[in-house]
């Protein structure tokens, strides 16, 4: 090497030595000062309101119960991780809300929230205890020929009953400072603009369209579960959960989301009843209710338990098993199914068949987790130097989705090879989250591992 070349090389090294700490300092500063992008559209604005706006109430936000890190729902194991001063527990530390606002025991033990759906005239006696439904895939779930159906019984929103109006009712029920519930004193009502933004955000969550079943699944048991699910003489699941969604199709075309009395209220030994706490019967839709509840989507079911409006059943296997039981088969819906059946049978499945349908739902859920993780990782990979905070948020959410997919498959003893890939993908995404220089490469590796995992579950299309 000539002296001239050596000198040039030496200068480059010196520049690198000077630049490296400079880049490091700049990146550290960037990580500290770069905040998520300011709301630039309706969805971003809605997200901000959903997670941060208390409407001058008791401190709760929509995100208090619909946690992003818990699939926009909440369950007892997640509740157990929250600090004592979390606004969820406002009834435990706000004297004005100590009585007849929540039942802290049922909330902590079973994830149940108090609702006064038949009016606020007799708070001591007229209330129901309901779980928190996730708010994913609402674009495909709440429309019916008769209008929108929100909440567990399809009548969750005041005003015109739409998803847009839902937040107004939620603020009155759950955000109030006192039980007087005076607008402008105990809370402020959401503005028209806020309702628009909240609706846009909620509609952006999760799936934007229904699946088209059957899927080319690989696992023997989930595959059989899918057959049973779609068999209108055996599982009959697809009649009310068309394509594992939240709409009904009895053969005459899709009728959208519908309400049914499936007898969940008649289940014996419901956990909340066993607790000895007051748990009045829930009469569902209307005032007084007619005993019906609306149909939730099933793709997102496996990682959003406990199940049904009263969190009566903890596992997806148990939830499928419910339809084989007496409570369902003696209910108005069960009897209708039996009437339409040539052999007069409602739904009758054996243990292996129940597990197979549950396995199918677990795989559907895992595929949705993977789809969302890929979407998040691909968005992350596109983020630039200045968008580090947003990027880290995307990676964190992707990790959470991957964790769900692992839990859902593992919980059913399904697809261990896929689980191994998903574990690797999760670790890579976690590393990407904490890395600066290798973020892009690690994210790409995580994407590859996710795709490898997906291939184990379903034939490539």
């Amino acid at each position: 090497m000539s002296w001239l070349n050596w000198s040039r090389w030496y200068r480059k090294v010196i520049i690198l030595i000077v630049l490296c700490p400079l880049v490091w300092v700049l990146s550290a500063v960037s990580a500290c000062v770069s905040m998520p992008s300011p709301p630039s559209d309706l969805v971003s604005k809605g997200r901000d309101i959903f997670f941060n706006e208390t409407f001058k109430g008791n401190g709760r936000t929509c995100g208090t119960c619909h946690r992003a890190e818990a699939n926009f729902s909440i369950n007892p194991s997640f509740i157990a991780t929250l600090p004592a001063n979390d606004p969820l527990f406002v009834a435990e530390f706000n004297p004005d809300l100590k009585k007849n606002f929540e039942n802290p025991k049922l909330m902590r033990q079973f994830g149940l929230i108090l609702e006064n759906l038949d009016g606020f005239g007799d708070l001591e006696n007229k209330f129901v205890m309901r779980g928190v439904p996730h708010v994913l895939a609402q674009r495909t779930s709440i429309n019916s020929n008769q209008g929108p159906r929100t909440g567990w019984s399809g009548d969750g929103a005041p005003g015109d009953g739409s998803l847009r109006s839902f937040a107004t009712g939620a603020v009155i029920q759950h955000f109030t400072r006192t039980l007087n519930r005076v607008a402008g004193v105990d809370f402020r009502l959401p503005t028209e603009d806020e309702l628009d933004a909240l609706e846009a955000f909620q509609l952006s969550l999760g799936r934007q369209q229904d699946l088209t079943l059957p899927l080319p699944l690989k696992g023997i048991v989930p595959k059989r579960g899918q057959e049973i699910f779609l068999d209108n003489k055996l599982g009959k699941c697809n009649l009310c959960h068309s394509n594992a969604g939240a709409t009904a199709n009895f053969g005459g075309g899709n009728i959208g989301n519908a309400n049914f009395n499936t007898g969940v209220e008649n289940l014996p030994d419901q956990p909340a009843d066993l607790s000895g706490e007051r748990n009045p019967p829930d009469d569902g839709f209307g005032r007084p209710g007619d005993g019906t509840f609306n149909t939730p989507p099933l793709v997102e079911a496996a990682d959003t338990g406990p199940f049904f409006h009263n969190n009566a059943i903890e596992t997806i296997e148990g939830a499928v098993g419910f339809y084989d039981g007496e409570s369902f088969n003696n209910s108005p819906s069960g009897k209708l199914l039996a009437k339409a059946d040539p052999n007069g049978v409602g739904i009758e499945l054996d243990g292996t068949q129940i597990v197979a349908v549950a396995a199918f739902l677990r795989v559907l859920n895992a595929l949705e987790n993977i789809r969302q993780s890929l979407e998040l990782l691909e968005s992350s990979a596109k983020k630039g130097f200045a968008e580090r905070a947003e990027d880290r948020d995307l990676l964190k959410r992707a990790v959470s989705e991957m964790q769900d997919s692992i839990k859902v498959l593992d919980g059913g003893g399904l697809h261990p090879e896929a689980v191994a890939h998903l574990q690797k993908a999760k670790e890579l995404a976690k590393k990407a989250h904490s890395s600066f220089f290798r973020r892009s490469g690690l994210t790409q590796q995580a994407i590859d591992e996710l795709r490898n995992g997906r291939v184990q579950l379903i034939e490539a299309s």
């Binding site: 006064n116 759906l117 038949d118 009016g119 606020f120 005239g121 019916s144 020929n145 008769q146 209008g147 929108p148 159906r149 909440g151 399809g154 009548d155 969750g156 929103a157 005041p158 005003g159 015109d160 009953g161 739409s162 847009r164 109006s165 107004t168 009712g169 009155i172 029920q173 007087n180 519930r181 005076v182 607008a183 402008g184 004193v185 009502l189 959401p190 028209e192 309702l195 209108n232 009649l239 009904a248 009895f250 053969g251 005459g252 009728i255 959208g256 519908a258 309400n259 049914f260 839709f285 209307g286 005032r287 007619d290 019906t292 819906s333 209708l336 009437k339 339409a340 059946d341 040539p342």
Partner: protein, 125 residues
């Protein structure tokens, strides 16, 4: 022959499996007159009570779009809007519907005659 599940669909519809979706009444009573989302100034009638006939159970509301007479049934909810006094809203009765008071009325859909589903009436201290 009709497919058995098509028959089922007909039965489900007949028995109310596809009940008309509706707004929740429980929380509606706490929403001040004119602020009901998606309803106020769109589907509901806001105006003043021009006449009240408790015997016939009819009220006439005068609003910018003209006078409208609606019936009251046992299912009609009447709520006293006391939000201007910063007091909690309450359930009311037909006698609370007095001439000259400001009201908001939601008319029940699908009825042959105009029947109120709920009436919010503004009351003083």
């Amino acid at each position: 022959m009709l497919n058995c599940y098509l028959r089922l669909a007909i039965v489900v519809v007949a028995l109310g499996g596809t009940l008309e979706a509706s707004g929740q009444q429980a929380t509606e009573m706490f929403i001040p007159i004119g602020q009901s989302p998606g309803l106020s100034n769109k589907e509901s009638v806001i105006g003043t009570l021009e006449s009240v006939d408790p015997g016939k159970r009819m009220v006439t509301i005068s609003s910018p779009s003209g006078a409208q007479t609606v019936g009251i049934t046992d299912r009609t909810m009447i709520w006293l809007d006391r939000s201007e006094q910063k007091q909690p809203n309450q359930n009311g009765v037909i006698n609370d519907l007095q001439k000259g008071r400001k009201v908001e009325v939601k008319v029940r859909k699908g009825e042959a005659k105009a029947v109120a589903e709920w009436i919010k009436v503004q009351v003083g201290p």
